[in-house]
Symmetry: C2
């Protein structure tokens, strides 16, 4: 039969990310496109122990759970944030989701009507742009610099468009890796409070702060922790995908009770709840005396910091001499602006033929401002893969620059 | 701040099911409202063995997976359906979801624009009505009898409304437990094929066929298996929640590749993918020589059949003498039409005070046709709970009928 899809669903089908993913299934293919953590760093023995304990302790770990998620894990998060992040939110203000992506999708489904204005960083993550497009939002990019989005631009856009939301990731913005300065955080928060714009603060990679000269830097406060009434103007989202393991599919949204209740109702309608079994495994792991979450994160940061250094060394080669980038102090990505005249999509086509992929900047912006940039992931590829992958991309760059 | 939710999201917040669930968290509360399987029947030792094997075998079981779901589990499903259900669909035509509910939500998000007409059985499941309302669908109920929906009504409604979809559960419709006759299945399929209406066939409880006089009845063919070109006009959805365990949150949609690809794109946007770990656990279990899925389902059906018999015995008491019901031959629910003048919502309020809940019919219909009926679940409560719960509801019925 002739199918008649919903009007906005069509756009999703043509995503170029899907074809990179198709290629990435080949064994020999190297992908620097994804947002994957390193599987060799997963706490596997501790999780195997947790699985055995949880499954043997209580049959109800296999039953349906509550839509808002496993209570003891929400309590653990509430305590952990108060200990580590000066964030004081009660378990009733937390909804557990299937990763950060679902937290964003639920909020946008419940908060944005088609045509509503929504502010995003520019560039921003492709996954976020997709959710906004399917919901029919009017997407407005806000300019930024190496300290975060620009308050003047933000104010002008707020006054002109009366947006409902600002979506931002002050800790290592995806894709640029920018870490917002403290001053910028305060200014953006003040402006959004003054104009009643709800901020969705994506802190998915906020714990990936790399040591500098062997010392871990102090973390900058999140926007939500800077609020006088925490959670009033900021919804804070994140997940355990980068710090424990993605297959547990456990993320969260935390904020004002009204918003959390609305998101919980939509969550229940969308899939009843995320896996209670996975939430209990995670809680058992985090609560165990045999696993130290802080030390685990430190270990990840040492290793990811080393991989980033290797990538930066490889970018010193001749092929990249006219490229521009700023080395991030954390996160998962290096954002590279290509030599003038070289387009990210064209470079991707050349690189795919060589068996390597990355994310082209064109996918990260509603306009064409990011077309000459690319996003490179340094957390997933091991050192050999990283070396080979970067060599192949360098070759592709050389071929293009030699031709022009 | 003053929050400004999306216009259609407001309706979800007022669901009375949420207050029943709130009460059901009390330890002494007995709920016959839910759609829960019996946790004492979960294959716990086999799943514990699967967890240990999967976690020790391969670190990638904790990594992100593919949006469409774990390949070997899709292959297993394809083989199982061809063996048990005369359904021949390739693994590429299968998308794994977070339960049946997500399969319905993804399809409706991708196929239905606000204002599009959609046909549903009357009564139908509350979860389905919520998804359709959030999407802004024009919901049109089709009348049925004890053999399924009525072809004449269906044809009239199709001609008058040109609906995009028919959502139906021919095997033990939720909430009525009706099993469509073979003839009715063929007629409905023929009409939808003739008018290019896509059928979404929900077979969530289709394996729960109870033995009659000790013998398992032959299963009636699903709509999709009756199609000449299987999957052309029917999308088939279901899950392992009732036959293995809900916390694995694993369901599926299977149908035409175009539809599956669209749903996969939306799935990726909504939550990237469901838990690869859970899908691998399930695959390991189903593929294991130590677990026999067919025998496990037979065991569930013997036990659930016994629980249903007990409930039917309890309905023979005086309180229910003017109630009407038809004993289903499978599924999870008994649908009872109350004595004339007694309203399901009012009876629920009286019952909640006594510490017992059920689903009032008002939640199962877009109109008020089901207001004098209630849905009772017999799979989750153990025999003692079932006895006590039914006693308490009977008391509430007696109090109402004595007053009138």
């Amino acid at each position: 039969m002739q199918y008649s899809f919903a009007s906005r669903a069509q756009a999703l089908l043509s995503s170029p990310l899907r074809s990179i993913r198709e290629l990435a299934k080949r064994d020999s293919f190297i992908s620097l496109a994804e947002e994957l953590p390193a599987e060799e760093l997963f706490p596997l023995p501790s999780l195997a122990e947790a699985a055995s304990s949880v499954l043997n302790a209580d049959r109800r770990s296999l039953q349906y759970g509550e839509a808002e998620g496993y209570g003891p894990l929400r309590e653990w998060l509430s305590r952990d944030w108060s200990r580590r992040k000066k964030l004081n939110m009660s378990p009733e203000q937390i909804l557990l989701t299937t990763g950060t992506q679902q937290a964003l999708d639920l909020l946008i489904r419940g908060y944005v009507d088609p045509g509503d204005s929504v502010l995003v960083e520019n560039p921003t993550s492709p996954g976020l742009l997709q959710v906004l497009r399917l919901q029919g939002a009017h997407i407005i990019p806000v300019e930024g610099d190496c300290n975060g989005i620009l308050p003047d631009s933000l104010e002008t856009l707020i006054e002109a468009n009366h947006p409902k939301l600002l979506l931002a990731a002050p800790n290592f913005t995806n894709p640029t890796g920018v870490l917002w300065s403290l001053e910028r955080r305060k200014e953006v928060l003040r402006l959004c409070e003054a104009h009643d714009v709800l901020i969705v603060e994506d802190d998915s990679v906020g714990d990936l702060y790399f040591p500098q000269g062997g010392i871990s830097p102090p973390q900058l406060p999140s926007l939500i922790s800077l609020e006088e009434k925490q959670g009033d103007h900021v919804l804070y989202v994140g997940s355990f995908s980068k710090t424990v393991a993605p297959a547990l599919r456990t993320g969260w949204a935390v904020g004002n009770r009204q918003i959390i209740e609305m998101m919980t109702a939509i969550k229940q309608m969308a899939d009843w709840q995320s896996s209670l079994l996975n939430q209990r495994l995670l809680h058992h792991l985090l609560d165990s005396k045999h696993f130290n979450y802080d030390e685990h994160i430190l270990m990840l940061n040492r290793e990811y910091g080393t991989r980033l250094k290797l990538m930066v060394e490889l970018l010193k080669r001749n092929a990249w001499k006219d490229a521009a980038y700023k080395v991030p102090s954390g996160g998962m990505f290096l954002w590279v602006t290509l030599p003038a005249g070289l387009n990210g999509d064209a470079l991707l086509r050349g690189s795919l033929l060589k068996g390597v992929g990355f994310l082209p900047g064109s996918m990260c912006s509603p306009g064409d401002e990011a077309n000459e940039s690319i996003r490179l992931n340094f957390t997933h590829p091991g050192r050999d893969e990283l070396l080979l992958g970067m060599n192949l991309i360098s070759e592709a760059v050389m071929e293009f620059t030699a031709r022009s």
